[in-house]
Amino acid sequence: MKDKTSNLIRNLINSSNSIVAVLIAFLIGGFMVLLVGESPINAYSAILKGAFGSPTAIRNTVRFAIQVMLMAYSFSVCNRCGYFNISQEAQLYTSALAMVFVSFWTEGLPGPLRLVLMILAAAAAGALTCLIPAVAKFKLGVNEVVVGVMLNYLTKFICQHLIAFSPIAAKRTSSIVSIEIPEHIPVPVITVGAVLIVIAYAFILRSTIPGHRLTVTGKNKQFAQASGIDATKVLLMAAVTGGVLSALCCMGEILGYFHMIYNEFAAGMGTDGMTAAFIGNNTPIGMMFGSLLLGALKSGSVLLSVLTEVPTELIDCVQGLIMFFATIKFFNAAQIDLKRRRVVE
């Protein structure tokens, strides 16, 4: 059997894991919907309609999918080097704050210049925040999950304090938000930008030298160093890239849709990205489909809450279930010897 075909079959088997998982999760979810007294068929048709049933639905799906995808890429880039990037919420808060502060401080400058400065500030803030746990792990030997989780809480409170009391706090609002920033990026630009990022990420990872260095370092650090790759530099570059990707997600959300910092806007975005990364098995295309799935679920649940009486808690449950089953290796391609068509233990 040709190698390419066996590779394809291998990939298909691996991705059928996710499909089976989603099916099981939807089955159990449907059962829970039945318990609530709603019809699962109504519920799922509402989700499908909300995800793909109209141009508005597709717009929502694309928006949420881009959000999740950038976070997934950010997590995956770091994960390849053994750096568990759980501080993504912190990166979102810091890049949001950087953007709004720069916008506030550069009031007199011309529009395009302000936008460029804001983007640079957000990227720098995201990169720095992502570097903190990375440096803690690789230079100080401190577990990066502890540093990451503490950073998440810390930046959340600092963000809340700043949008409540600092010059960027909005006056006369029911809950704490920042001032509105005038800069806008049209949604089509964000969408096309995200597509370009997918292509660029996949390309860089597979076909360029830095991408290869990243993959090799991730697989075996000692081997990489023996081959002359400066592993620490690669790791730090990965952390910087992860931070910049999170910052891009933040930029898309704030410059494209929110135009201000809402209280606790980053809640849950990190875990969504992580889920998509695992569903997609850390491959660029896989993660893209994982994010499409999560984005579709999120935009489907918008219509679900409008058209049915299914409570929002159940939607969270279904999402949790999908996450749960998505990483069970029902079929492990590595264990199937395609040449001799039998299972190898």
Binding site: V146, V149, L154, H161, E313, I315, G320, I322, M323
Partner: protein, 311 residues
């Protein structure tokens, strides 16, 4: 003007559920399982502790139900990560999501309320008054606490003994350090891992019972991040029980510090950040100091070598 005694007293009370969760997490960590589902375990136990206490009209039945709920969640978690090889992180996060949604949802059918359920005050966890403790200056903060709080303070010592002076603890440590070697030495690593996770669940169950029954109510999301705080405390302590006692107390006392300062007019948001800032500093500062002093030692050694060489 700082009231140190009441700072400590509030710190002990606040640290108790965190300590219980931390001890459970520590056992899992010893067999090298990084358990992020502590919030889910604990919240589920909070809910069922209230259900048990209310249905059986007895607070200790509530504690038992809490423990059972914790063990049940742990069983599901361990089957999925040990048997079905699910990614532990995803499994943990999805358990957290599931439990949050499920407990919120179940309030309606079981108690016909939404958001929270308050029980009669007779079902509160009783506190024990140890008369002679009042006369001892600092130790008096330990008086008038529930039995679960006392248990949480004793557990680090119990676990220290079990982990370092019993065969069971040895098996745990070997399994965590090098599973192949443990298998070769005849240890049933699978059984050890399951036991560790079930104990983890049981201890989180105790924590949930303590949290819910000391205020004799359940509120949606009442664990409020304590699971992650416990995880941080254990990781900071390098999974050593006695050091973990210290780090949990650090969290408890810094939280009680922010409560004490709450009326002084500082920003409530910055005060809320105090425990996390302290943890971060405690994690990073000693290592940074060590790194800097190593560098300085290296530099001075180099300078000496150069001086010697040039002479």
């Amino acid at each position: 003007m700082m009231d140190w005694i009441s700072l400590l007293e509030l710190g002990v009370r606040h640290a108790a559920p965190i300590l219980l969760i931390a001890m459970g997490c520590l056992l899992a960590q010893k067999v090298s399982i990084f358990n992020l589902a502590l919030e889910g375990f604990t919240l589920f136990s909070c809910f069922f502790a209230v259900v048990g206490a209310f249905v059986f009209k007895n607070v200790w039945m509530g504690v038992l139900c809490g423990v059972l709920a914790g063990v049940l969640t742990a069983v599901i978690y361990s089957v999925f990560i040990l048997q079905l090889q699910v990614n532990p992180v995803i499994c943990a996060l999805s358990i957290n999501t599931l439990v949050t949604g499920l407990t919120r949802y179940l309030l309606k059918p079981i108690f016909n309320t939404s958001g929270r359920f308050v029980m009669p005050s007779e079902l509160a966890l009783p506190t024990i008054h140890i008369g002679f403790l009042d006369s001892i200056p600092v130790v008096s903060v330990l008086n008038n606490k529930s039995v679960l709080v006392y248990l949480s303070l004793l557990l680090p010592f119990i676990l220290y003994y079990v982990l370092f002076h019993t065969e069971f603890g040895l098996n745990m440590r070997i399994t965590g350090l090098n599973e192949e070697a443990a298998l070769a030495a005849g240890v049933n690593t699978k059984k050890v891992k399951y036991t560790a996770l079930l104990l983890n669940g049981a201890l989180c169950g105790l924590a949930g019972a303590e949290l819910a029954l000391s205020v004799y109510m359940f509120n949606v999301g009442m664990t409020n991040g304590r699971g992650f705080t416990a995880l941080a405390a254990v990781t900071l302590a390098g999974a050593h029980p006695l050091v973990a006692l210290g780090t949990c107390m650090l969290f408890g006392v810094s939280e009680s510090l922010s409560i004490q300062l709450s009326t002084s007019g500082y920003s409530a948001y910055l005060l809320g950040a105090i425990p996390y800032a302290m943890a971060l500093t405690a994690a990073l500062l000693p290592r940074i100091i060590r790194l800097v002093s190593n560098n300085m030692k290296k530099k001075s050694a180099e300078r000496q070598a150069i001086e010697l060489h040039s002479n």
